[in-house]
């Protein structure tokens, strides 16, 4: 397919690479153009603006940082919406607020353009290996039309609904699972530590028995080792994601007490000066409340 691709962070780069290697005709846009060098060397074209990347494309992927950058690259002066063909489809892969997803959906609809959300699960190495999970939502037949492209990087593709926003919500939900698992474990570790038991032993028992998912192992290990300084995801980002999840609760009128507590923990972490630490530093809020250290 003829594919436009915006955003060459670690994840975006790996996805673009997969698309190129699968034989798609790829035109790239990235603010820092040099990130595209290796892909261009292998046959991708480089666009100077988002609009240029969208020109003539059947599908335009975006994998940009946040709501604001996505909005600008879509509906700004040189945004893709100015150049997309009537039957082209914008496939947005970023984790966005539901409000932003609605703006994309409605803005493209007004222009007679297609819009689908396709959020991905996995880390960059999984993307490189084509083993991402893809959560896709949007109207048929758009979902079917983009499937060949999604298969370039997606190992499994889950269709969750006809409204693109549904995929964004599933993605926010999965991020909430991470945040709230950190809080769960923080309570367990702090209590056992105060009772004289090494949290690492508790971690070993948990992850050796029925709490042995990556969400337990990856984050729990960082917690019991107090590895806060090389953030995979920062407190700032954790707060943002949690607040987007709570905003979804607002939109659909669903109380979310665990999310509310996670938010308060993140705020306390920000207040304690830990904005840039790994978000497992929530552990320290539980420890402080317990009078540890």
């Amino acid at each position: 397919m003829k594919v436009g691709f915006l955003g060459l962070g670690a994840m975006g780069h790996a996805m673009a690479r997969r698309l190129l290697d699968a034989g798609h005709e790829v035109t790239l846009y990235n603010r820092t153009a040099s990130k595209a060098d290796d892909l261009v060397a292998d046959g991708a074209r480089l666009a100077r603006t988002p609009a240029e990347a969208a020109k003539g494309a059947e599908v335009v992927f975006s994998m940009l940082f946040d709501d604001a950058t996505t909005q600008a690259a879509t509906f700004g002066d040189e945004g893709i919406a100015t150049a997309m063909e009537p039957d082209a489809i914008h496939v947005c892969c970023s984790t966005l607020s539901l409000d932003q997803a609605r703006r994309l959906r409605d803005g493209h609809a007004e222009r007679g353009q297609g819009y689908v959300t396709a959020n991905v699960l996995g880390r960059p190495p999984a993307a490189v290996a084509g083993e991402l999970f893809v959560i896709v939502a949007g109207p048929e037949p758009l979902r079917s039309r983009i499937e060949p492209a999604l298969k370039a990087f997606g190992h499994r593709i889950f269709a969750v609904g006809d409204d693109p926003v549904q995929a964004n919500l599933v993605k926010l939900s999965l991020n909430f699972m991470i945040m709230s698992t950190i809080e769960q474990m923080a309570e367990v570790f702090a209590l056992n530590e105060k009772a004289g038991t090494d949290p690492r032993t508790v971690f070993e028992i948990m992850t050796g028995s029925f709490c042995n998912a990556p969400v337990h192992k990856n984050y729990g290990k960082l917690m019991v080792e107090h590895s806060y300084d090389y953030p995979g995801a920062s407190v700032t980002l954790g707060l943002k994601d949690t607040e987007m999840f709570l905003a979804a609760g607002h939109d659909y009128r669903v109380p979310l007490p665990y999310a509310a507590i996670a938010r308060d923990r993140f705020l306390a972490a920000m207040a304690a000066g830990d904005a840039d630490k790994d978000f497992v530093v929530l552990m320290e809020r539980a420890r402080q409340d317990a009078g540890l250290k």
Copy 2:
């Protein structure tokens, strides 16, 4: 070893069977004696009182229902403490409150008897297969002395500390992981359901990616299928365990906000008439708050 064993529920029976099959000399006590029939047929002796089961034993296991039954079988008129040898060891495997664990520890210490907590993780089939995880706490050399017996049913044995209460707390912590994971998932499922996405799809994505532990799969499946009527563990039991965990938080002065919310959900479930349903029925509290159904 010469072993006394109290309590032949599904779990206790499987553990006693393993002890017998491993060649230990086992004397059994159970309120309903007929539960011992097959074990007696294979060489176990049957005692008419807890005291009789303890007589001459090096180790006396108890796997009874709760605090009260354990207290009675230990320190009651015909309790094991009346008959234990000075160097015998009571190994209690039940999930108890920390207060009860302290009563056992201190009551045996006053009598010059040994006491160790050895909580088990796993279900009866795992016990039958000798694949339980054992969380053991108590002073050395008592822990080492009982190890040959523990190995009869325990695949892995985790020593968590010198104070028996530490093992009880780890066990309560693991139960809390279950309760709070149910609440996590309830919030996610209710919110997505209200947004029009089938919770079963969300469950599939979660358990297909980084939330794929038994704690997610086993309980999440019951939740999305609304299977509340064949309780593995009831709301009443979930409330009891959560309150024991909160009581531990009281004892060690550790705030436990997620546990507090789980408690409130269990109370609301009791108030709604769901005391005897499977505790995954917490799902319905989240759904009701969301105005579903």
Copy 3:
């Protein structure tokens, strides 16, 4: 003084009346012009646009419905900012989000115009009687310059700081005191009702002893009488105010657990179809959780 005044709801009308009667020269703007009839009959001038009301005024009051209406009437095409004199002062009396207060402050500053927040406490009859409390924040000497005007309707004037936003926050805080008092009382009433005690009796004891403030008496009475259908303030409004308070917690990194719970209660009330009821209907969430009715 020469005064412009935007917004003739019940409260705004009473305040404008006080300004007029105190001898100030008042130019009014209201979307529905007829609301100004009696004031015009007594000497006020009527403007057709906000800008016209601001022309030549030393002070321009706004008492509009919300963030959006205030933003439009201030910085819109016919907004007051287009017509204010360089040394004129916009005094905003509405309950707004802190973000909106910052937009007003910064937008006027860019234009070299003055801005002060002056939130009022009290109901329209108190305004008519000139007995409002005024919470004022903004830089000196602006605060002093507007004081003669504030005295027209303000019985007591509290200066809380040099940044206008501080007054907005105090106002949101007082509204939070109301929401959280409703939740407090809801828990008390539901629990006692379930124990067989008439909540009206509990209300009488509370308000007869040390919980006898208007915040207890006014809202508690509606609660025990289940008077939900003639909303002084609706659930929708209560949710909005609570979320603005929580947003302030975000801005300053302050966890607010009671506010978070109030928000969840409001969401559950919305989900239950009570959006337009008086916000004391939170009572019914506590009752439902308790299995009452």
Copy 4:
């Protein structure tokens, strides 16, 4: 009436004094007998045991420290239950757990003795002046029969039900109103302080407007002045009362989210070493979470 009276703390002493001055025939018991000296000088009799104080009395008041002391003085070897006449009535005025109230009610019923709860509101000076509020619960005609005695110190008497436990619950509810008002104000003060506004100013506005009850004024003043060191009531006591309120929620299956948060704050205060400070020190938990100081 012939009255026995147990417990001459500040409150009990004032109540006994009122009974004596009203012409009742009073026999006193207090662990430290000297506390009775002035009352004995004015005509009261002194008993050496609770039982002796109960002998021949129509009504026996108890105003003791807690569950345990009340239980011992009632059903212990020399407790009042050993000496009460069949138609005598035990009137318990202490703040007790509902479980203890039930033990008193049921224990007396087994013995054919009467039992009524009569909790009091007010401080010792109010008791001296006969201006207490009395919350009374128990079966008729017992309530009527004790009324002449209650009038000696009670300005207003509120009957809340036929089951004595109902009065205990109302008393716990009022104590909860105090704890939760402290948390409300702590959130408000911490947030405004971080926004640069002096909490004393906010306190002045609150208590100058619609939050002007004693519960606001008395505790709020201590909070904004950081007066933690001369405890009217300690964190330890606040935690105890809050946990008794939560236990009542358990008994009647009523979720109490605000109480749960207050409990967590008290635990964090204990963990921070503030067990013996005035319970308004909860303020410091909100401040710490906000990163203040």
